[in-house]
């Protein structure tokens, strides 16, 4: 579709429309924003990709709040925004679009702007020891200063009734995993309510993005969520400049390694040790290829603005191709044997069932969404890099249980290998890209989106009048998907929770930022 036509379709004429590459911004009066968002979301069925704010008070522009909607299939983003001058509140859209809830709470916690009409506007990510009147993403907040310790009480939701008791789990766990606190209210073994308290790995990433030099910003984006180093930095680099080519290979290697790992862990969490050990072994083979191709097992230091810093020679490419074939057979055998275990399938089937309606309302993204039949994949919806030149289908399952999430992964392993094969064959003509210097457009907004192995990663980047980046909003898929974990765990027995949690395998670091 033509850009003009898109603007015509989605945005009313009287609004101040500005085109910036694949981003169409529109200045909407505050009182109309709820109607505009409802129209885009319900009438035009656009996806809410992220919702974030900027502090432009120094330029006399007040605060701005951006509502990023994606147009699937077009790689175009419609971004209505509102301006709050001398005001610290904005109308909440959560009552209509539930998926906005987390974003609005984050704006409230980090910018101190009140979402009026939000049903549950509690603090998010920042803990009780953080002063209530200090907002870290405002420009006048100094990130180097240690704030005074506050001591606000934290209230968990309570379930009352005969025989109901609470189990606190974490933030320190028995295994080597990221920290998070889970509060279960249970009746016997059955989970009545699960409340997750996160934020233990809050690192001030978005604040850091504002101060670090450009090159270091790329390195920082690799560290948002360690297991998705490459795709995070890919999304960030795309936001700054368009990329093409080799990045597909690395992005798929990352997906492969993590899917192997998760498939193994889901099986070993049911006690099926055969699948567990083979998952770990397959992952290790991919990790060794990462090391060989990129010099880093987690593909760090590969992305740069303007291209990737590592080249793959045809010789190495052929070896990878041959090894992929072996990997395919290997994986196929492991899955065949595992599928024959009725005790394994019994544990997976019906466990941690996520209702499709709940998933839709929360805007669940990525593989958790595909496991309930939500047909979204940024590689197809927003074809970045060279994905539009490759043949592959979206992996779909319909049940929304642990088995579905496992099978989405299994299918994606196969499609991922097919993608790598295609891109390796196409790369034969060998174009080498070198990372270049980037000059950024002033007063601009840009969005980078890339499908990490969990789901789509969205970066929203804003530049000031001299073309330096003043705000980077990071949206990891975990930020959305954490909100439905409690729904999936409800009515399951406590011993099944680790399995359910592992089938989502969300990032704490990417959520806490």
């Amino acid at each position: 579709m033509e850009l003009n036509k898109i603007i015509e379709t989605y945005i009313a004429h009287h609004l101040g429309v500005k085109r910036e590459g694949n981003v169409v911004t529109a200045h909407v009066p505050v009182e109309h924003i709820v109607a505009v968002c409802n129209d885009l979301y319900f009438e035009h069925k656009l996806q809410l990709k992220t919702l974030t704010a900027t502090d432009e008070r120094e330029q006399g522009e007040g605060f701005k709040i951006f509502y990023v909607f994606g147009v699937p299939g077009e790689n175009i983003f419609v971004v209505p925004f509102i301006q709050l001058i001398n005001k610290q509140e904005f109308p909440s859209i959560t009552k209509e679009i539930h998926g906005a809830s987390g974003y609005e709470r984050k704006i409230r916690s980090f910018f101190g702007l009140e979402p009026v009409g939000h049903p549950q506007p509690q603090q998010i990510l920042l803990h009780e020891n953080w002063p209530a009147d200090l907002f870290p993403l405002r420009k006048d907040f100094n990130g180097q200063e240690r704030p005074v310790e506050a001591n606000t009480p934290y209230e968990f939701q309570r379930v009352e009734g005969e025989g109901i008791y609470e189990i606190p789990v974490g933030p320190v766990h028995a295994g080597i995993i990221e920290p998070g606190h889970f509060r279960f209210s249970v009746a016997g073994e059955e989970i009545i309510l699960l409340e997750a308290k996160l934020g233990y790995t809050h690192k001030g990433i978005e604040k850091l993005f504002e101060t670090l030099p450009l090159e270091k910003k790329v390195r920082l984006s690799e560290r948002v969520s360690g297991d998705t180093s490459f795709t995070h930095s890919l999304a960030f680099c795309q936001a700054v400049e368009k990329l093409a080519g080799m990045d597909i290979l690395f992005s798929e290697l990352e997906r492969l390694a993590n899917h192997f790992n998760d498939i193994g862990f889901i099986m070993s969490d049911t006690g099926y040790s055969f699948g567990g050990s083979h998952g770990a072994r397959l992952r290790e083979r991919v990790m060794q290829w990462n090391e060989r191709l990129a010099g880093s097992r987690f593909l760090r230091g590969v992305n740069a603005i303007g291209g990737v810093t590592r080249d793959i020679t045809p010789d190495v490419g052929n070896k990878l191709l041959a090894d992929l074939k072996k990997l395919w057979t290997d994986f196929h055998q492991v899955i065949e044997i595992s599928e024959n275990s009725s005790s394994l399938l019994n544990r997976l089937q019906g466990t941690g069932k996520l209702d499709a309606r709940i998933a839709l309302d929360h805007g669940v993204t990525g593989l958790a969404g595909r496991a309930v039949g939500l047909e979204h994949d940024a590689r197809i919806d927003y074809p970045y890099a060279a994905y539009d030149r490759l043949q592959f289908t979206i992996a779909l399952e319909n049940e929304g249980d642990v088995r579905s999430r496992l099978y989405v992964r299994i299918k994606e392993v196969y499609s991922s290998m097919a993608i790598m094969r295609q891109s390796l064959e196409k790369m034969a003509d060998g174009e080498i890209r070198v990372a270049g210097e980037a000059t950024l457009k002033p007063d601009s907004h840009a969005i980078g989106i890339a499908e990490g192995w969990r789901g789509d990663i969205v970066y929203f980047v804003v530049t000031n009048s001299v073309g330096s980046i003043t705000r980077v909003d990071v949206r990891d898929p975990s930020f959305i998907n954490w909100t439905v974990l409690g729904h999936a765990a409800k009515d399951n027995v406590i011993p099944d929770f680790p399995l359910i949690n592992k089938s989502f395998n969300l990032s704490y670091s990417g959520n806490d930022l």
């Binding site: 789990v169 006690g271 040790s273 055969f274 275990s341 019994n346 544990r347 027995v493 011993p495 099944d496």
Partner: protein
Amino acid sequence: MKSALIWTIQIILIPVLSPLFTGIIRKIKAGFQNRVGAKITQPYYDFWKLFQKDEVISQDASWVFKFAPYIIFAVTIMIGASVPLFTSIFSFNLLSDLLVVVYLIALATFFLALAGMDVGSPFGGFASSREMTMAALTEGGLISSLLALALAAHSTNLFSMVHSASSLSIISFPPVLLAFFAFLIAMLSETAHFPFDNPATHLELTMIHEAMILEYSGKRLALMEWAAANKFLIFLALGVNMFFPWGLTASSESTAILTALFLFLLKVLILCLLVAVLESSMAKFRFFRLPDLLLMSFILSVIAIILMI
């Protein structure tokens, strides 16, 4: 003099060999997972290490928490000394009674569950609740499976049961086999093995046995784990000697004793292999499916009893 020596072997055999069999199971399981695995003697080193370590005991711990490891360990030694292992010389031991042994095991379970709840950690609490649920459901299958043999022997003395079982005709072998399967299910439940519990898990929410001893450290943890290993070997010994009662010797000749010991180890090793294969080839059952399995154990033993009569 000789009888004193045999007595000593009988008493120390279980605690001395039990860590070895834990190690053997781990080694076999590692093999199934394409891993090399630790040496089969690793549990000895682990216990030795734990005995040297300092302990951390919660302020809220009462005497139950502090004494439970000694009680449980002592109970397993006592049972180990009174069950048929390789010799039938001590058959008139009052402790060698089916009901005494089963309820001594229950006594250990009772203190284990109390210790799990004692410090008030939520994991210990729900692990104890699960353990007691399982213990109550397992008891029926365990007693009835052995009762089938007791009925044939007209005695609840374990040695008399072994004696009568070894003289049973080939026709009564099917009920013995049924009773053995009932016993096997009960054994897996009692000794925290698949599909009931995962002895190797680190997931605090799914554990049963491991969550009860989560608060222990140092020498008390070593005692707890050693007691668990003892219990496992006791069950292996009961399984192989009660249902496949060949090789026990009544003589005190050293060659006879050595042959009996060798046969005993061989039989236990075979059962060990069976458990390891079972653990490697299946997933853990969902918690609420476990009662079905235990019910099956009970039904199998009831059928065995009916066939025996």
